[in-house]
Amino acid sequence: MSKININKSWKYDEALESTSHINLKDKYNLFIDGEFVKPLSKKYFKTINPATNESISEIAEANEKDVDLAVKSARKAFKSWSKLYPKERAKYIFRIARMIQERAKEFAVIESLDGGKPIRESRDIDIPLAANHFFYYAGWADKLEYAFPNKVPKPLGVAGQIIPWNFPLLMAAWKIAPAIACGNTVVLKPAETTSLTALKLAELIKDSGLPKGVVNIVTGAGKTGAAIVNHPDINKIAFTGSTEVGKLIERSLAGIEKKTTLELGGKGANIIFEDAAIDQAVEGIVNAIFFNQGHVCCAGSRLFIQASVADTVIEKLKDRISTLIVGDPLDKNTDIGAINSVEQLNTIEKYIEIGRKEGGEIYQTECSLPKKGNWCPPTLFLNVSQSHTIVKEEIFGPVLAIQTFRTIDEVIEKANNSPFGLSAGVWTEKGSKVFKLTKELNAGVVWANTYNKFDPCSPFGGFKESGMGREGGLHGLKSYIKFE
């Protein structure tokens, strides 16, 4: 077959997003009780631009005492916040949504700078979705009694929330918006490699006039997170991150009455049938695994192609990924940005090595990578099976494991053959097949003829070891209320 030639003559020039309008401080303190305060720990750590590995700013590291202050502030605020007229609560949250929209570009640039994701994604996906999430839950604040027939919903109290580095502002929105809409107050900890947009959100929240202490943001790494999880005056823990840490949290909370929701890892099966819209399915494969450098818990990292179209799909996929541009996250043409941290790059490279050793056939595009920073080209592994490590374990990078299948029952069995159950994709133009698959797949989100779509009103969350509880939509409210 004849190959398609890309990158021979007409190349796109650099198209960098301007950084002139963003405003970053050299040092960021903790946001407690409506003020930025120096950490009692007196410690700060550097936040790094993963595209250059240069320091952007210094971030306070909260210790147990700092966390305790934050919880106290949240507890104090809870008394009045939970009693505020719900429609007034709503107005504050609507206001936050609007202010994010106003400052969207600034947030987008900082998100890409601090986290390495392409500016196209932070601009078109992360930031708008974060604003929409606040807008959506704002509207729920004074309508909660309609969400739970025959029950009287009440807020839980203080929620401790720990979020990951892959969608920093969006995850903050997913956590904060429903919590405060339901009348809770929060102590939120962003991931240590991506604290900046949460801290910018803190500035914005301060500007918005939200009562002091309703939202507290404490920065730090695992120890700070543990201090939140183990704090006795927290009523609820919401965690998004790895299954490993999720289990640690659950273990330490055994026997303690704290409500938890967990959004954990995944190993999404993306299934292409022979009667799929093949070219759009190929787009779906790309979107499923290369979106956000593959740093997506619901990434379609296990691809199943029906044998009769496997060669065609793989050839088209190879053509397609040759057009992907890996590079500076701030370049508007970048498709795949920087790997979030050196540690994560090491993990991904370790898995690629394991994939090779276990006999997988590797295919990587020949794209030029910048000299400085953390990069990983789009990577395919062919000829792998269910027992390969790279098929079983979550890699959290742009690495796709490709298998073929022959029958519907076979692919359902293989897709469900995992301790995870977060997401799945199905590609077929036959309606009955869509419904058969979406019904049988054990996954909290099933995308049929699309992949990696998110919306504030669409519940998200996993089966089995991918988590407990839902975020988003009506079902997401349940994580932040109790019944009288």
Partner: protein, 286 residues
């Protein structure tokens, strides 16, 4: 000469069969006066393991049974129980219940089955949603059975408690393995006989008798069990269940309620406890 009564041998209930425990062990159940009522099977971890295998094999086909059919099967259980009302009342009397309480418990048990039979094809409508996403997709969320559920049934209300916990589990398409009331296990096995004659597919409900202390660790740690329901308020047991369940992130549901005969003892929210919400997306443009 007066006739000698035939005593009943109480066995356990796995996959629609009534085997003895593989361990060959037993424990005494006595009435208040101390008379021996029965030698109950002291079920072992292997009995539990066997029951989980059966429950797993059966679960998908039970879940895929139409909601209408599941409702009718639950209704059928109620019919069977109604027909054997006097037997169940006298069994409760045997274990120390008063006549009026025994009658009330059996009647409420029947009514509770009918209550959940009626929810069979309705709870999905209560807990589902069509989500108006801001793109050209049709998007909906609906509940789906969590899978295999292990159940530590309430000690009090040996019949009503068990039915109040098990009915919402199975009407939601789950299969289950139940440890019956430790204090008062006999009636659970009589109830198994009702289940066995009421079109419930074999393996949907499996009932073991035995000791909480011995079986809880296995009920909580089994990697092929998706959720565990614990009825009781023993802090140590709860902690141990929560710790062991972490291994496969089993969904832990704790019912601390002491009563199962009040208004709050039934609602579709009991069904929802053993459901996962699945969200499906599909484009709408042609």
């Amino acid at each position: 000469m007066s006739r000698i009564d035939v005593l009943k041998t109480y066995k356990i209930f796995i996959g629609g069969k009534f085997p003895r425990t593989e361990s060959g062990r037993f424990f005494h159940v006595k009435n208040k006066k101390g008379d021996l009522l029965a030698n109950m099977c002291l079920s072992s971890r292997k009995d539990f393991r066997n029951a989980v295998v059966v429950a797993r094999n059966l679960q998908k086909s039970w879940e895929n049974t139409t909601a209408l059919n599941k409702g009718q099967i639950l209704y059928r259980i109620a019919e069977m129980l109604e027909g054997r009302k006097s037997q169940f009342i006298s069994e409760l009397l045997l274990t120390g219940s008063s006549k009026s309480l025994a009658k009330k418990e059996v009647e409420q048990s029947i009514d509770r089955l009918i209550y959940y039979a009626g929810w069979s094809d309705k709870f999905q409508q209560i807990f589902s949603s069509v989500n108006p996403v801001a793109s050209n997709h049709f998007n909906f969320s609906s509940p789906q059975a969590v899978g295999v559920v292990s159940v530590i049934a309430p000690n009090k209300f040996p019949l009503l408690g068990l039915i109040s916990v098990v009915a919402p589990v199975i009407v939601g398409g789950n299969s289950c393995v139940v440890l019956s009331s430790e204090e008062n296990p006999m009636i659970s096995i009589s109830f198994a006989e009702v289940l066995n004659t009421s079109d419930v597919p074999h393996g949907v409900v499996n009932i073991l008798t035995g000791k909480r202390e011995e079986l809880i660790p296995h009920f909580a740690s089994h990697m092929d069990v998706n959720s565990i329901i614990y009825c009781g308020d023993n802090k140590e047991e709860i902690k141990s269940i929560e710790q062991l369940s972490v291994e496969n992130l089993k969904r832990v549901k704790i019912y601390k309620r002491k009563k199962w005969d009040d208004k709050q003892s039934q609602s579709p929210y009991f069904i929802e406890k053993c459901q996962e919400i699945k969200t499906t997306w599909h484009p709408t443009q042609v």
